[in-house]
């Protein structure tokens, strides 16, 4: 029996398909399956069509797939929209109190009738639906009850009664086998990167709500006491970035999160952080743009923007992790790097990483340290912008005895006084350039490029960010090489050339229309032979990549 299932649950916004999907994913997770959930929702609060597509596999999976094994329909539209993708062995499970269908392999669950008979309230319909589905796929009552008890703290008894009724009414059609591996927690990319930053010593998170980064604000606000951090929502993104820089000047490890539009507003601050040499981490979770674009969907259209944002010659790190565990590791790493080099940096992700749910291996947290930047040794007079060999000036903060800490957005001398003369201006830029050389060296010491699939293959796929998931899966299936540059600035030229050794044909895969990584690679003499680009605001599916290869 196969051990890779695809389940789609859909309904109108407000019907609770996301929550029901998450509970189903947890049922599989409890059996040792590795999970990926893609959440597709529109920019509205009621109506429309939302769905969650769950992949449950015995191996780690980083994307959903096109073919559906179980189509769970809370409304008729879900069937209409998705039945074409149903596998020939697939089953449609639907609310038979609302929909009537024939001719297909279908199983009805009389949701409203069950809820009424059990004395429940309408909102408990999804409990009935999930419990009915659990029985159909052969989950035992004990496991289901244990999970539901965890999920429903309110009206627990009544929910269990509804679940029992639905469970007893349904018939088992198959038996999903247990996998012999420990269950892993389920986390969204936003939650995972939050944990990484906290592990690296985050003190302060500030953000203005913007999909798909809002989840970070919600998660950190909900856990601020446990994490011992401050969280603030402020008036706008211009305010956010400037407050973040202020807090870091005072010594607080700070991070902000937004999407492309918000980051566009933050660019003046990005430039300030560079000039005044203050650490700043921006999580830029891309969505389909330009402008308001397709706000609740995904894309990789901001890479060139991230590489060049801010006026003036600016040094930065741009790091693009490809899944939740990478997002966790690199958010911690980028916070430390930003402080070590007193420079602004961008963690570039997208909706697909931010809001998708992944099986998450906590061990990655052990690889993150609360790094110590270069502090002042408290000897002599303090110079905020001391010219050193490495270009890194030791840090001290206002409030420290014998310290006068002068931060300046104007060009400045070592003490921080404004200067305009040609010699001083050039010297200070040279100091920052020395720092950039150190950043380049640092990048080559890190694992800045990942290689997957058949390492000796002559054909290589290059993909970045969330596109890693489906690209890696296809590469492993077809026996080609897959190369994922994770750090994009400073560009890991040596590692990339090493990864490309022996490769004769390069296929570039991106979810944008202008092959932005391709343009970056061109700067280093790397040219793709073929481009597979997708820009309908939806992520790549493994089947699509396989077909186009």
């Amino acid at each position: 029996m196969k051990k890779d299932f695809s389940i789609l649950i859909g309904g109108a916004a407000g019907m609770g398909s996301r929550k029901a999907g998450l509970v189903i994913a947890k049922l599989f997770s409890g059996l040792g399956y590795r999970i990926f959930i893609y959440d597709d929702y529109q920019s509205l609060i009621r109506g429309g069509h939302n769905f969650s597509q769950i992949r449950a596999s015995n191996e780690k999976v980083l994307s959903h797939r096109k073919k559906i094994d179980f189509l769970l329909a809370l409304d008729e539209l879900t069937i209409k929209k998705h039945q074409a993708d149903l596998d020939k062995e697939g089953i449609i499970i639907y609310n038979s109190d609302k929909i009537s269908i024939k001719d297909k392999k279908t199983v009805g669950i009389a949701v409203e009738t069950i809820v009424k008979k059990a004395g429940g309230i309408p909102i408990m319909g999804n409990t009935a639906f999930v419990a009915g589905f659990a029985k159909i796929i052969g989950i035992d009552w004990k496991a289901l009850k244990k999970l539901l008890k965890k999920e429903f703290k309110k009206s627990q008894e009544l929910n269990l009664k509804v679940a029992r009724k639905a469970f007893d009414n349904a018939k088992s059609l198959i038996k999903i086998k247990k996998i012999d591996q420990l269950p892993l927690p389920l986390l969204t990319g936003n939650e995972a990167l939050s944990l990484g930053a906290v592990k690296a010593g985050l003190d302060f998170y500030t953000a203005y709500p913007m999909t798909p980064a809002t989840g970070i604000l919600h998660y950190l606000s909900g856990h601020k006491k446990e994490f011992n951090i401050a969280v603030a929502q402020l008036e706008n993104e211009v305010g956010i970035v400037n407050a973040a820089i202020g807090a870091a000047y005072a010594g607080a490890k700070t991070m902000v999160g937004t999407s492309g539009g918000g980051f566009a507003l933050m660019t003046e601050g990005f430039s300030l952080a560079a000039q005044s040499e203050i650490p700043l981490v921006v999580v830029e979770s891309q969505r389909a743009a330009p402008a308001t674009g397709v706000p609740t969907y995904t894309g990789q259209g901001d890479l060139l923007f991230a590489l060049t944002a801010g006026h003036g010659d600016i040094l930065r790190f741009v790091i693009a992790p490809g899944d939740a565990e990478e997002a966790c590791f690199w958010s911690g790493k980028i916070l430390n790097l930003s402080w070590q080099y007193q420079t602004p940096s961008i963690l570039l992700i997208d909706k697909e990483i931010s809001e998708s749910t992944f099986s998450f291996d906590n061990n990655i947290l052990n690889e993150i340290k609360d790094g110590k930047p270069l502090f002042w040794n408290k000897e002599g007079k303090y110079f905020r912008y001391k010219k050193t060999k490495s270009g890194i000036s030791p840090l001290a903060f206002p409030g420290e005895k014998n310290v006068i800490c002068k931060s300046n957005s104007y060009e400045h001398d070592e003490f921080g006084i404004t200067v305009e003369d040609e010699e001083s201006v050039e010297e200070m830029q040279n100091k920052r350039l020395r720092k950039f050389q150190e950043m380049r060296k640092e990048v080559e010491k890190l694992k800045a490029v990942n290689v997957y699939g058949k390492k000796t293959a002559k054909k290589a796929i290059i993909a970045w960010g969330s596109t890693k998931g489906p690209a890696k899966e296809v590469a492993e299936k077809l026996g080609v090489k897959m190369i994922q540059p994770v750090i994009l600035e400073p560009f890991p030229e040596k590692q990339m050339k090493q990864a490309l050794k022996g490769v004769e044909k390069i296929v570039l895969i991106e979810t944008n229309s202008s092959a932005q990584l391709g343009k970056l690679l061109n700067c280093y003499g790397i040219k793709a032979d073929k481009e597979i680009l997708k820009y309908n605001a939806r992520p790549f599916l493994p089947e699509e990549i396989e077909e186009k290869l």
Binding site: L234, V238, A243, A247, Y249, A250, G399, C405, S407, N408
Partner: protein, 265 residues
């Protein structure tokens, strides 16, 4: 103790910013004498003539971007709530470019002090109209005179629930010093609009000298009384403008933003 730096002062000779610098220095001496550690004082500025003040003070300082010093100061305060934040900024920055930050800082009662060097013109860019320039202001961008009415910033801060609202005059540094000390000591958002004649691009010296008077401070907790006094002058520049009160208009105590946000249980 010396508060001067080695930086060359580049204000025009006779600039009224010297008056503000004098008042601010005396404030700092007085705060230190009262036990506030010097290292806990941070001056935040932006871009413009008045903002150059940080180069002339041997104190912690943060030069922000144009229009952003208030939100920078709020960030610094959140980063270390023990610090005393004094913002020195211009009318262009606070009332034009960064007006949203003024409103929100007042609204949330952030525990910072904002001193606006209000010369009612963009001086460093050679004399364009700002949000507080009078209607009819003739500058290089409005050769026939600005067609816009000025805003009354005190009224705006009152409407935004600021908890300390005052006006000072750069050419009365002793009175100004007392105001700034009270502002800095006020727990919460304190705001002082400082009338600051620009001798090069908008010389209002004699206009102010004829009209400015030190008002009697009473009923400081009444928004209604404050509004009455605030409306004595609407920042216009005509002969109907008879009296310009300076001093504290409004002062109430409310929980500060930082104390509430950073509350640990």
């Amino acid at each position: 103790m010396k508060l001067e730096t080695y930086a060359e002062n580049t204000w025009c000779p006779g600039c009224s910013n010297f008056g503000i610098l004098t008042a601010l220095k005396e404030t700092i001496f007085s705060l230190i004498a009262e036990g506030i550690p010097k290292e806990n004082i941070v001056i935040v500025s932006e871009i413009g003539c008045g903002s150059k003040i940080i180069d002339y003070l041997n104190l912690n300082s943060f030069s922000s971007l144009h229009g952003r010093p208030i939100i920078s100061a709020e960030g610094i305060k959140l980063g270390n709530p023990n610090l005393k934040l004094i913002v020195c900024a211009g009318d262009g920055g606070i009332y034009n470019e960064g007006i949203a930050h003024l409103i929100h800082a007042a609204k949330r009662n952030s525990d910072i002090t904002v001193l606006v060097h209000n010369n009612r013109t963009f001086a460093l860019t050679t004399g364009q109209f700002t949000a507080t320039s009078p209607r009819g202001f003739k500058g290089k961008s409005t050769p026939e005179g600005s067609v816009e009415q000025p805003i009354n910033p005190l009224k705006l801060v009152l409407a935004s629930n600021g908890t300390f609202i005052a006006r000072g005059y750069a050419l009365k540094p002793s009175h100004l010093k007392d105001l700034i000390i009270k502002a800095v000591k006020h727990p919460g958002f304190s705001f002082v609009d400082i009338l600051q004649p620009c001798i090069s691009f908008f010389d209002t010296t004699s206009f102010y000298n004829q009209r400015v008077y030190e008002m009697k401070e009473k009923d400081l907790d009444s928004q209604k009384e404050a509004l009455k006094k605030i409306e004595e002058w609407d920042y216009s520049e005509n002969n109907d403008s008879k009296k310009i009160p300076i001093g504290i208009f409004y002062k109430v105590q409310k929980p500060t933003y930082e104390k509430q946000l950073l509350r640990t249980e």
